[in-house]
């Protein structure tokens, strides 16, 4: 068995409990069974990387019934060796928060409220607005110092994001933006 520190701690913890209780004259067989009820028993585990600063600290997440029930610093991670800062250790709140917005929303011009809309509706309308802004504000050529240059761009569309996004998302954003003629491509690199 490839015993990493995380498994070691888990096993040592449970064995320790069993041994300590056995010393007191308890039936360890029964206790072993009851450990199944421990918070993390039966939970699936996956690892992630923290979403705040750029240290790249490892996190271990525990899931039961598609619900994140625990999150802690990964003791086998070379960067944080199990530690997390105040913000990182608070992240189990995020997938369980009632403040999360569950559906796409739309706010009409001059309206004072949001209304729920479907994904299909949202994406269709966004695609159309995108096309409209692109087509109506297309710059094919530009003259500089008496010389004409083909520039093929629009200055009417901005795309902003992603130091919170994964690499693959950033890459597709850049690829999409440039393919659609967008030069106003930016993100929070300065924050």
């Amino acid at each position: 068995m490839n015993m990493n520190r995380r498994n070691f701690l888990k096993t040592a913890g449970l064995t320790g409990v069993a041994l300590a209780l056995a010393d007191l004259g308890f039936n360890t067989k029964k206790i072993e069974a009851s450990t199944k009820e421990f918070k993390l028993s039966g939970a699936n585990e996956y690892t992630s990387i923290c979403t705040f600063c750029s240290c790249g600290c490892g996190m271990v997440c525990h899931v039961k019934d598609n619900k994140l029930i625990n999150l802690e610093g990964d003791p086998d991670h070379i960067m944080n060796e199990g530690g997390l800062c105040s913000k990182g250790s608070a992240m189990s709140v995020v997938p369980n928060s009632e403040e999360r917005i569950p559906t796409p929303l739309y706010r009409a011009p001059r309206s004072n409220k949001w209304q729920e809309i479907s994904w299909d509706d949202a994406l269709n309308r966004i695609a159309e607005k995108f096309k409209k802004a692109r087509d109506e504000n297309w710059i094919e050529k530009e003259i500089d110092n008496g010389e004409e240059y083909v520039v093929n761009r629009t200055d009417a569309i901005g795309i902003v994001g992603g130091a919170q996004n994964n690499n693959e998302e950033c890459y597709l954003m850049a690829k999409m933006a440039r393919a659609l003629g967008v030069v106003f491509l930016e993100h929070q690199a300065r924050l």
């Binding site: 990387i49 004072n112 924050l191």
Partner: protein, 768 residues
């Protein structure tokens, strides 16, 4: 978390110096705390450099071997009255050709016989720095002369030494030159490339390394390839400017984007790419400013909340109000998406339509991200997104497919690029598929590339980012690796843990950890070395050399800074284009800072004093501000007598979109406040916890006061200067709401990077 390693170093005897306008928890554990006036780092660092130069405390062997110290600068190079040669007053711009080396007939830099030759870079350096005496520096920074000397002795006597910095150094109109000042200091001390040295950016966002690598920046394509300008209509024009070395990577990228459509005959579809105007700035500030002018119509924002985090927020608000359509994808409702609900704002006057798209959090999706050490790590997931939320990856894929569909019947020339783009991603394991495209393929064999060395300039390889070639080497996603046991170096390199670009290299410039013969300076703590028997560079780390078999007796064996054409560290950032004799063009043309080849001290745009070095050139001479006069007033010290420094805090993060929705973080710190020195509190008759009005030329807010002795008034050029500090993490949405500090801050930007000067502006403070 990086403090964990600072503490570990301290336990082993390292000395810690902390330089900050405010005494913090970091100061508490430091051996020496230095209180500095915001915006004066260059004056402080340059005095240390001057002390090192004056007393011959530099690493002579290192600078002769690994820097341009011995190179000759051209005879016209000079610095006069606050500006370098090549400056145009009218354009507020330099012609950087004036900073060139003296070149020989082959176009290679001429080297002098001795450091003391009056034409050497080193002599130029000495000449430039001599104005930075301890006394001048002390007057500018407010740091006592004896403290500057003590710090200078500490850095000289405790080598190797490393520098850790963050936005406190970069959010200035001299942000790039602040870091250049570090560069000169560390090169002189031999503190680059060896274990325990370097200049380390503690970057502020989880994947800001990746997002810049993938060029979510107007002026780059993925892999820091300069974005094509209007006056470079053909690939050969681009290559002439940026070099054949990088053109290879651009062709590799174009093949990934346009597949079979990209051929040598059609310039690999280079002509289809949109061209930006070379004279325009397309940074995020211009997005809001052009929206204000009704030129920007449609804005799509992913995971960013500029209505809290951007400076001079009234411009942001007016910009958002000027758009036709705003799309925001985020986890929680943000101040940006609901800008029309801002207190005091009448929604019926705002015509912008807004879409909010619920995004999956980092715990609900798979993918890789890159940390500050360029280490690419994989995020797994084990839960479904909340509600109907989707990952941004899925959103972009769906959206692009829908847009492409709208153009399917078009035969217009402008839509050709959409039709020719390769875009076909699977529904399952999408992130892995995209990472493979990024890694790149050999198109002849169909195999994934194993490294940058396999990339070809003839269009026979295709990959989305040359820097990431090898992340999928051997058909294995190396970002998933977790070997935390194997570390032959004993230095914490762990080569089998995840993967770092380029080529799993952990310490950049590690060639500089060896002498000219390829022998490590420190045999106890070595990274790489030249192995005479196998005739190869070998090591615990991947050697940072151009060719692993080119030994110290070849030119390639003496290029520790190989991304520069000349291959050595630039004490003065001399402009240089390395000739490529084969292709009859430039091989490499590394950029130099736009605002000077050496770090000169300039006052912040809003300053409580005048520039004693050159009163006529008060601020960065390349700065263009205000851009829109009515919206960007500059406050004077008469009306706004105090210096405001702003930052984030440990307990909240950036715009607070996530952290202000976590109840226990709100319990730790619940609202915006202002820290003011006791002396100012006495003057204003304000007690701890009482409210004050803070006002700048751009806005005003009311916040509670924290009276502190963590800030002390400073003596600046014989006048008393008061510095105050505020966190900027709040807005009007989320579980914890409070005033936004960025209503006060200034949006003047560094001429290289357009980073805003949020670390130093002027305010007035009054009791409410």
């Amino acid at each position: 978390m990086s403090m964990k390693w600072v503490m570990r170093a301290k336990e082993k005897g390292a000395k810690v110096i902390h330089v900050d306008p405010r005494y913090t928890r970091t100061s508490k554990i430091s051996d020496k705390y230095v209180q500095i006036r915001p915006g004066t780092d260059i004056a402080f660092l340059n005095a240390i450099v001057q002390y090192i130069l004056e007393n011959d405390l530099y690493d002579k062997t290192f600078i002769i071997s690994h820097t341009n110290a011995m190179y000759k600068t051209n005879k016209n190079f000079e610095f006069n009255e606050g500006v370098f040669s090549g400056y145009s007053d009218e354009e507020r711009k330099y012609n950087t050709d004036f900073w060139a080396y003296e070149l020989d007939a082959e176009g290679k830099p001429v080297k002098a016989d001795s450091l003391d030759d009056p034409q050497t870079v080193f002599s130029g350096l000495k000449d430039f720095y001599k104005r930075y005496t301890m006394e001048v520096s002390s007057g500018i920074t407010g740091i006592p002369v004896e403290t500057i000397k003590e710090v200078a002795d500490m850095v000289v006597n405790n080598r190797p030494g490393t520098i850790m910095y963050a936005l406190g150094m970069t959010q200035h109109t001299v942000g790039v030159q602040n870091i250049r000042a570090f560069g000169v200091l560390q090169l002189l001390l031999g503190n680059i490339g060896r274990p325990g040295t370097g200049i380390n950016a503690l970057r502020g966002e989880p994947n800001v390394q990746g997002s810049t690598d993938f060029a979510l920046l107007f002026n780059y394509l993925p892999g820091y390839l300069s974005y094509p300008n209007h006056n470079k209509p053909k690939l050969e024009n681009w290559t002439a400017s940026y070099g054949s070395f990088r053109a290879k990577f651009l062709i590799h990228l174009l093949k990934a984007w346009f597949g079979d459509e990209a051929t040598a005959e059609n310039d690999f579809c280079y002509g289809l790419l949109p061209k930006k105007n070379a004279n325009e700035n397309y940074s995020i500030y211009r997005i809001f400013e052009t929206a204000m002018e009704k030129k920007m119509k449609f804005l799509y924002i992913m995971g960013q909340n500029p209505m809290v985090s951007s400076p001079n927020l009234s411009v942001v608000h007016e910009g958002l109000s000027g758009l036709d359509t705003l799309v925001v994808a985020d986890l929680f409702m943000t101040e940006t998406a609901s800008f029309w609900e801002k207190p005091g704002c009448d929604p019926s006057t705002i015509d912008t339509e807004v879409f909010f798209l619920p995004a999956a959090s980092f715990l609900e999706k798979e993918g890789s991200l890159s940390n500050s050490s360029r280490m690419v790590q994989w995020r797994y997931t084990g839960i479904d997104p909340v509600g109907e939320a989707k990952s941004d990856l899925d959103m972009i894929d769906l959206l692009f497919n829908k847009i492409r569909d709208l153009y399917k019947d078009s035969s217009e020339a402008k839509d050709e690029i959409i039709k020719k783009l390769s875009w076909n991603y699977p529904t399952e394991k999408k992130a892995e598929a995209v990472l493979r495209e990024i890694n790149g393929y050999n198109l002849k064999t169909g195999e994934l590339l194993n490294g940058i060395g396999e990339i070809q300039a003839d269009g026979s390889t295709a990959g989305g980012n040359w820097l990431y070639a090898g992340v999928y080497a051997g058909n294995e996603n190396l970002s998933k690796r977790k070997d935390n046991k194997t570390d032959p170096s004993g230095l914490g390199l762990f080569p089998g843990f995840a993967w770092s670009w380029p080529g799993n290299m952990r310490v950049l410039y590690n060639r500089a950890s060896c002498d000219v013969n390829g022998v490590p300076y420190d045999d106890e703590k070595k990274l790489i070395w030249w192995d005479e028997q196998t005739k190869k560079w070998m090591g615990y780390d991947v050697p940072d050399v151009p060719v692993a078999t080119d030994g110290p007796d070849t030119p390639n064996g003496q290029k520790p800074f190989r991304m520069n054409g000349e291959g050595v560290g630039r004490l003065i950032a001399n402009s240089y284009s390395d000739p490529d004799y084969v292709n009859q063009t430039a091989r490499d043309a590394s950029s130099v800072p736009a605002d000077g080849p050496l770090p000169e001290f300039y006052e912040p745009v809003e300053s409580p004093t005048s520039n004693v070095l050159h009163p006529k050139v008060q601020i960065n001479p390349c700065l263009k501000y205000p851009r829109i006069e009515s919206k960007q007033p500059i406050g004077t010290k008469e009306e706004f007598p105090y210096v405001l420094c702003t930052s984030s805090i440990s307990e909240h993060w950036c715009a607070g979109t996530v952290t202000r929705n976590v109840p226990w973080l709100n319990e730790l710190v619940k609202e915006t406040y202002i820290e003011i020195p006791e002396k100012l509190a006495t003057k204003l008759n304000v007690k701890n916890g009482e409210k004050v009005k803070v006002r700048s030329a751009r806005g005003e807010i009311e916040v509670k006061t924290m009276v502190t002795h963590r800030l002390q008034t400073l003596n600046i050029n014989n006048e008393e200067v008061t510095v105050v500090w505020m966190p900027y993490n709040w807005g009007f949405k989320g579980l914890s709401t409070a005033a936004s500090t960025n209503l006060l801050t200034i949006d003047a930007g560094d001429p290289n990077t357009w980073i805003q000067e949020t670390k130093a502006c002027l305010v007035d403070v009054q009791k409410v």
